[in-house]
């Protein structure tokens, strides 16, 4: 597996680990109960990570096929 592919898994894993580790109402994140707020934050960070992956992915260097 290439390093940039591994990078894509990291935020997905963290998104799911949060509720496993801390399934509690508090602290609120962005005014939401912890599990929901945690998932929300990592969805945004997943999108950001995919933007980085897109930038370094050699498959995109060839341009549009």
């Amino acid at each position: 597996m290439k390093p940039f592919q591994f990078l894509a898994i990291v935020p997905c894993a963290l998104m799911l680990i949060g509720p496993l580790v801390h399934n509690k109402l508090h602290p609120f994140i962005l005014d939401m109960p912890f599990p929901l707020g945690w998932v929300t934050v990592w969805i945004v960070l997943t999108a950001a990570t995919m933007a980085v992956v897109y930038a370094i992915d050699p498959a995109n260097k060839g341009g549009d096929r």
């Binding site: 898994i9 005014d31 599990p35 929901l36 945004v44 999108a47 096929r65």
Partner: protein, 486 residues
Amino acid sequence: MTIPLILLGLTALFALLLGVGARSGHAMGLEEWTVGNRGFGFVLVFLLLAGEIYTTFTFLGASGFAYGQGAPAYYILAYGTIAYVIGYFMLPKVWAYAKQHHLVSQPDFLAHKYDSKTLGVIVSIVDIIALIPYLVLQLTGLGIIVTAAGYGGISNTVAVLIGAVVVTIYVVVSGVRGSAWTSVAKDVMILSVVLFLGIYLPIHLYGGIGAMFEEIAKAKPGFLTFPAKGQSVWWFVSTVLLTALGFFMWPHSLASCYTARNANVFRKNAIVLPIYQLILLFVYFVGFAAVLKVPGLKGAASNLALFKLVVATLPPWVVGIVGAAGVLTALVPGSMIAMTAATLMSRNLYGALNPQASNDQIVFIAKCLVPVVMAIAVFFTLTGSSTIVTLLLVGYSFVTQMFPALVVSLFPGSGATKQGAMAGIIAGVVVAAWLTFSHATVGSLLPFLPQPIQDFNVGIIALIGNIVMLVAVSAVTKRRVAAIAE
């Protein structure tokens, strides 16, 4: 109460005109009708993919799920994001192969990869069994929305019939272009309605989103976190992973990927779609806002939570707009499902029996089958058969069974054979059907396992059975082929 009815009528008319108008300038051959001649750019593919995500299930189901179950509803938000990440790596490969070989459906892909028409037929039959209940769900949702938003002025039967006729006409005329262009109207509407409701209702009724959650937690302790057993955090994680695998296995989802102009369309969408998914949060907020304000809805009635709250809180013209948005969330996915089901019947069933049939004949038969598919769905919707509800549960686990065979086929040296793929899919489907109809859970089947594993989504058993059969049968058939060669 006539304003909401006028708004609903105008929406149906607008969808019809937009859908039919989408045809202009395009001759509807097979590849044009089914996959828009693979010419769609980032925006249209985005709308098609988003069009399937925000169905009536999202609008009524996600708010109803949050209202009825609380925290377990969070899984709906998480699985799409993981599916997009999988799609980033998987879809460019699928797309390139489909383009090279002029494939227009999901069974096409598996049949061509494994060089087996029989496999294509098996996959089509499983797909059709999964698609029809999904279409019934859209029509049922449409009926609920129109009856609620029209204050009962239009009967359920009339609403379902009008919706079915509108969809049939623009699907037959414009194919996937009709779905894409009505999707534009739908996304603008649903985005504004959901954002407005999700922000306004918590502030108006509770003084803020945080205040609303505090109040719910006080009234119903434990409602906003996962329960210790049953739909626990382990259920959450396993369900998210399982549904993420099944996400692009819906035949209409995979077919809309074929519409892309180039492979980068998917990679860009993997960045944007997770963010777009966040509008689901506001759907949850509406569902949660209803918990203390319109209490007492049980079972299927919890799907009415959003509309009950809107009707109780807002003036009729707003109800009409919310209803119009809801109607579009039923029409757009409904059109894609109907088109896909008709394409599968024509191309992958009729076409497999009549290999000499031309593409023009295939597309003609597919168009003729659209009204047939809609009529079947209308029949099940209006008779309200309870079996269909069970079939719907089974639908998602059915299509998920295509995942192992499809992914393995992307790696040339995998050694998977067509017999292995068939055995895996059939085993997975049989187990999935049995699990659903017997209401089994991992805990009821294997009570000696630790609690976290007992809470795993039961669909994992079907998938494991599928993979075991795929590997075992592939190994046996490969050895036999090798022996014959010697």
